[in-house]
Symmetry: C2
Amino acid sequence: MHIAILSFDGFNELDCFVPLGLLNRLKPMGWSAELCGPGGMVTSMNGVNVQLQRPLEWANEADAVWFGSGLYTRAIAENSALLDRLQLDPTRQRFAAHGAGALLLARLGLLGEVPACTDGAARPWLVEAGVRVLSEPFYARGPVATAGGGLASLYLMAWMIWNRAGEPTARDVLGHAAPVGQKTEYIDSLLAQVRPFMATLTASGPPTSPPPSPPTSPP
Amino acid sequence: MHIAILSFDGFNELDCFVPLGLLNRLKPMGWSAELCGPGGMVTSMNGVNVQLQRPLEWANEADAVWFGSGLYTRAIAENSALLDRLQLDPTRQRFAAHGAGALLLARLGLLGEVPACTDGAARPWLVEAGVRVLSEPFYARGPVATAGGGLASLYLMAWMIWNRAGEPTARDVLGHAAPVGQKTEYIDSLLAQVRPFMATLTASGPPTSPPPSPPTSPP
């Protein structure tokens, strides 16, 4: 399971490095998550220069592609020369988008009629792009999942790992995010948000009931 | 308020980049958090090459120093040539340590008799170093705070921001970590863990009561 974490100049550090750190906990099972983008080096939104691990086109070969947010997501979404280098395949690949990253999903035609979660700043751009935006932290249908708000990327990870490697493996990885002494409640709360969407990869439609109200969300 | 996030080869991405991303939300108030360490470039625990923003000695001038964990923390704790370059001052600076980072605090003599939180892997090293290790996610006394487990660094940030810039500012920054639609419960839950320690910078001892349930409403 190779996961391409798309990283452009101005990328949000949380959106790229939290999944990078946690998904690579599954290296012993053959998973890998790598930073992938145009050029050799990118500068994060707070000025850290980071060497990319893979070229942008590597995303086309990956099993899953991760779309974070960043300072210039809107400009990237308008840059067709850049986006044309991505030839993604929803019949074979999974897609997770966080915050403004959902705008790239929309521009790449990967969202279709599926509604999306995002953050407050990116919401108007998605609406403008014709996407139905939800006021929830997480939503998934078929090969696409979206999340909005800071560390809501944990929901995306839970979804991706649970789908491919089962719930116990998801619990194990999320345990690496949980504070000491709070692991069970923390993981239960994360999985409760994702559970209603876990049938959608094999079913043809969205979940028939709305997600339940989650228990108090984890720190 | 300048915060030096110590970054050595093998550093844990979550421990360095989550505080970097969130503390820099306070740039408009004059805060900055930068990666600081020996050499020009370090490689993270999952193989990402990152350019350091400041030399190691910059930590001596900073207002606060952040100690994350990493693959080689134990070896670094034994490397006195490296640690001797740090001349930190508990009368002027604040220290936050996450996971194995507490071992560096201990070796630098900054922990004194203060007990510490850490993660399961680093626990025996701290015990060996004579530190009393707690089974809690967060503890603070005087200028030192420690936390254990994945994203428990959020407690360290809450403590640091609340101390220097007040609770409403801490709420505001933590809002950038919270999932959409869950911000109030999320922030309340984080601050409830930190609140009992908020008197300790001026008081002489540890808190005497357990964390209360937080009734506070968002700003």
